[in-house]
């Protein structure tokens, strides 16, 4: 079946360094992608999204890169802070044919070391 997966289940980075979280998706028809951050005991929180007609989008301290050729998505966090420690999920949505089931991966845990 279609799936969204993550390469690294746990990522540890030093405070102040940049973090890169990767995600592979399998549905070539997917045209909308989202990164979520989930802290313990809370629901996923929207970080940034990107449509398939773009290959890069920047937010505040975050950048999402999309490589449709290899079906790869990444989230870059600049100057990682302790508050960035959380589990990060990527999600894909086909946005077509009236079916909008977002597919989530198992997540990557980001640990920020002081």
């Amino acid at each position: 079946g279609e799936s969204v997966g993550l390469h690294l289940p746990t990522l540890s980075v030093q405070e102040g360094d940049n973090s890169i979280i990767n995600c592979a998706y399998s549905n070539s028809a997917s045209d909308y992608f989202i990164w979520y951050k989930q802290e313990s005991g809370k629901g996923p929180q929207f970080i940034i999204d990107i449509r398939s007609n773009m290959d890069k989008r920047q937010g505040q301290r975050v950048t999402v890169l999309l490589n449709k050729t290899v079906k790869h998505l990444s989230l870059q966090i600049a100057a990682t802070q302790p508050g960035d420690s959380a589990v990060y999920f990527c999600a894909e949505n086909t946005g077509t044919s009236g079916t909008y089931k977002y597919i989530f991966g198992t997540g990557t845990r980001l640990k920020v070391l002081a």
Partner: protein, 115 residues
């Protein structure tokens, strides 16, 4: 409130009992989703409502699970004859609607424990 609200935040029930989980989406959001998240796992799609259209129930794991959405707003997820494997966090999300590329906004979930 400004966000998606779910109640209760925690629910402990005995095996075989029925439970109802409630979701209040963001006002004006026409799409509503239920997901299940087991410990340390990703989000498993359960059901999706869009406006007055028939819901997409393709993710419901068994006929013990059902959901309804009244008046296009509040939704209730019902689990009958609960089993221990139903223990998980049940997350509700809403979005502006389909036809536009709009992200899901999640509530903080209901943690269900079946003893």
């Amino acid at each position: 409130g400004a966000g998606v609200s779910q109640s209760p935040s925690n629910k402990v029930t005995e095996k075989g009992k029925d439970v109802e989980l409630r979701c209040d989406p963001i006002s004006g959001h026409t799409a509503l989703y239920w997901y299940r998240q087991s410990l340390g796992q990703g989000l498993e799609f359960l059901i999706y409502f869009q406006g007055n259209s028939a819901p997409d129930k393709s993710g419901l794991p068994s006929d013990r699970f059902s959901a309804e959405r009244t008046g296009g707003s509040v939704s209730t997820l019902t689990i009958q004859r609960t089993q221990q494997e139903d223990s998980a966090v049940y997350l509700c999300a809403s979005s502006v609607g389909t036809g536009s590329f709009s992200p899901l906004h999640f509530g903080n979930g209901t943690r269900l424990t079946v003893t």
